[in-house]
Assembly symmetry: C2
Homo-oligomer: 449 residues x 2
């Protein structure tokens, strides 16, 4: 039984393709989501359909695998059952790849005002609120309100936060400039807030510095060594070197942290601060060799590098594949009446890491080799297209990116949902006055009254 259709769960399922077993994969969504590109949905570059694929379509050729769209609510490792739709399901092997959720460090009430970026719904919500803020500012004549409508705060300067900030800055400065007549897009404020003293702290310091410079060159304000003390619908309060202050913002985006899903706590084993399950060398949990935890939900410190396996696609893929293969080997051994072989030790192979800040702006760290700029940007684009599932998605995303690169345009600037309309504090008195800054006063005849 596999729980989760992310990179870890799919890798495990693929590894079991030839096993004479009944594989059941549970996910509460019907689609696998390529989360590394979710920020591009949130910033109107891609459609959800470009970065997601139905799990059962991905596995449709794997006849031994059943895909069930349902949420696993409980795990009982002693009874060897999971609970789905209030009903126990038995397993012989369990591979838990249920992933992580957004972490507000005890301030869950912030979640409504500061959405994270884990699901398509959240990305669409962020996109709509971001675009709506510009529509609001366009017809807002109250200066303070207009300023607030053009202020955006991103909390967390990890890859997601950096990529969001860079993309939002590019849209504001480039894509939207020609389309809005009555707001000066150079007044848009995009703040990237982090308690750390540099962006992308998991990268080498010089790459962090480069990324920081790239962000500032795009007009992003870096508020480092700064913590968020409160968030509400109208903005947030931060505390840094120059004390505590309040910022009115149209939108706060939470990219500050993730935490393993609660399911992990039900295994009865050890959990780290981030809600991740501490796994043994073979990725199983102590006392339960038949239960594996992989991906973002697993805490595995590499015996060689002494570093934890990072919460990235590569980590999940390698762990999922390892767990799937282990199960496949043991099943076939038993089926041939042989004792299962000694279990191997999982070793993470770091394929390198990269982050993109914007057009021609990216950083990469591959096997000690560190580089940035256009080469990193290109490498980033190619690798992300490569890891997209489905040729169609690759084709469309490539087309969208080439188009975006050539035109500076963003394809998916849609505000959906009937309730999303601008509500200015002080609307403009009359359309012909709205146009004053740019449009010459009309020479229409005086009204025929």
């Amino acid at each position: 039984m596999i729980v989760g259709g992310g990179f870890g769960g799919l890798a495990a399922a693929h590894a079991l393709a030839k096993a004479e077993a009944e594989v059941a994969l549970f996910d509460r969504h019907n689609h696998h989501l390529f989360q590394p590109l979710l920020y591009q949905v949130a910033t109107a570059a891609l459609s959800p359909g470009n970065i997601a694929a139905p799990i059962r379509k991905i596995l449709s050729r794997q006849k031994n695998c059943d895909v069930i769209m349902a949420e696993v609510t409980d795990v009982d490792v002693d009874a060897r059952t999971v609970t789905v739709i209030d009903q126990p399901y038995a397993y012989d092997y369990l591979i838990l790849a249920a992933g992580a959720c957004t972490e507000y460090f005890g301030n869950d009430r912030w979640s409504a005002a500061a959405p994270g970026l884990k699901t398509i719904s959240e990305a669409i919500d962020v996109r709509c609120r971001f675009l709506l803020a510009f529509e609001q500012a366009e017809i807002e004549t109250d200066e303070a309100a207009r300023r607030a409508a053009l202020t955006f705060a991103i909390v967390g300067a990890g890859p997601t936060g950096v990529e969001m900030a860079g993309a939002m800055a590019e849209i504001s400065r480039q894509t939207l400039r020609a389309d809005f007549r009555h707001l000066d897009t150079s007044t848009v404020r995009i703040m990237l807030i982090d308690a750390a003293d540099r962006v992308l702290p998991t990268f080498a310091p010089q790459l962090s510095q480069r990324a920081g410079r790239d962000l500032e060159s795009l007009g992003v304000e870096l508020l480092l060594g700064t913590t968020v003390v409160d968030v509400d619908d109208a903005g947030l309060a931060i505390e840094g070197a120059e004390g505590r202050r309040r910022i009115d913002a149209a939108q706060v985006i939470w990219a500050a942290g993730v935490r393993g899903v609660p399911l992990g706590e039900q295994l009865g084993g050890e959990i780290d601060r981030g809600g991740r399950v501490i796994v043994s060398d073979d990725l199983s949990i102590p006392g339960h060799p038949e239960v594996f935890v992989v991906g973002d939900l697993a805490r595995r410190v590499d015996p060689l590098s002494k570093k934890p396996v990072p919460g990235v696609a590569q980590g999940a893929i390698q762990m999922g594949r390892f767990a799937g293969r282990t199960v496949a080997v043991e099943i076939s051994a038993r089926q041939r009446g042989k004792p299962p072989p000694e279990r191997r030790v999982f070793v993470y192979r770091d394929r390198g890491s990269m982050a993109t800040i914007g057009r021609n702006k990216a950083i990469a760290e591959v096997r000690g080799l560190r580089f940035g700029g256009f080469p990193a940007f290109l490498a980033w684009a190619l690798i992300h297209i490569l890891f997209l599932i489905g040729f169609r998605n690759r084709l469309i995303v490539m087309t969208e990116w080439i188009w975006m690169f050539l035109t500076f345009g963003r394809g998916v600037r849609l505000i959906t949902g009937e309730d999303r309309v601008p509500r200015p504090v002080r609307p403009p008195p009359d359309p012909r006055l709205v146009g004053r800054e740019r449009i010459p006063p009309a020479t229409l005849p005086s009204r025929r009254r």
Copy 2:
């Protein structure tokens, strides 16, 4: 002042491009939506971003035109003002292109259970409910509930209803067959219900018959001469030749009718049964030469053909352009101190009409020439790509269609929204039993207990 960013409103704005006037276009959405292809969003073929474009982007080069995302709530033709955000805005000329909304013929309580297809939100909702029904049926072991989960009713056999029915049948029979292991997609029931005695009644009888045969060849049940007497979350009640009966259905889609938006009634002029404003020869309303109504909101009977201008893109475009040009001519005349010329009479040029039922199945009627099959299918595809706004959209849609044609696949099979999960009446007792029909019983060791 132009109200509405659909085909009519945009055509009017374009016609005013060179006018020395201040043009303000109001729309409550930020995007122009290519409604003829909305059913393809509802049937997982296209993403919303492929058939919509931001209105201010479309008009960004037209410096004399202001785009304001806001709803016009009232019109006062005597004061010559419209109300936007509780505030009056004055106009010299008003072009009302606010379009139509779904019409339930006095049964508005049906709207929740039977959504129409006018907005992106509705299309996404239909898509999610349709796909979710299959997930539900996959794990439903209660036969009646499973049958209901695979029953879909489309009310209204006009172009939208026919295209929806055809597309839903194709997905069920072809696209989804390989992906669902535990349901027989040939048991899917797709019903097309209409009070008329033939589908596509606006077309020639022989084309209707051909379309009907095409639909039936795809497995669509035609319930003609049948009226809907009730709709609820669990299905609908219909009344036809063989009396009244109840159908349990996972989804009811309402394509039975549209009605002009309520704004039209505020003009004080004559309104037809469909809520459309009856306009004069010059598309203005009697007594108010400065107020034009175009598109789906206008009722214009052609003086030559004696037929009303159909509620299609071509009708809206031609009316919008006509109104825009009329205004442009009068403004420039006055600016040159000349009296405005006599107004012309609007004449609708029928460029032909077509409808697609499915792969290689379509009908077309162009200047008396009637044809169907692949030629009509190809013509339909080319014309729809041609009328899409933006080269990028054309490129992507063409790519998606070619892909779909070659693979029978549907690119956007996503169920979004956290609350959308299957809730079977009787879930399967155990995953290995779920797999019974297809997967051979495992030869796993007896559980180690």
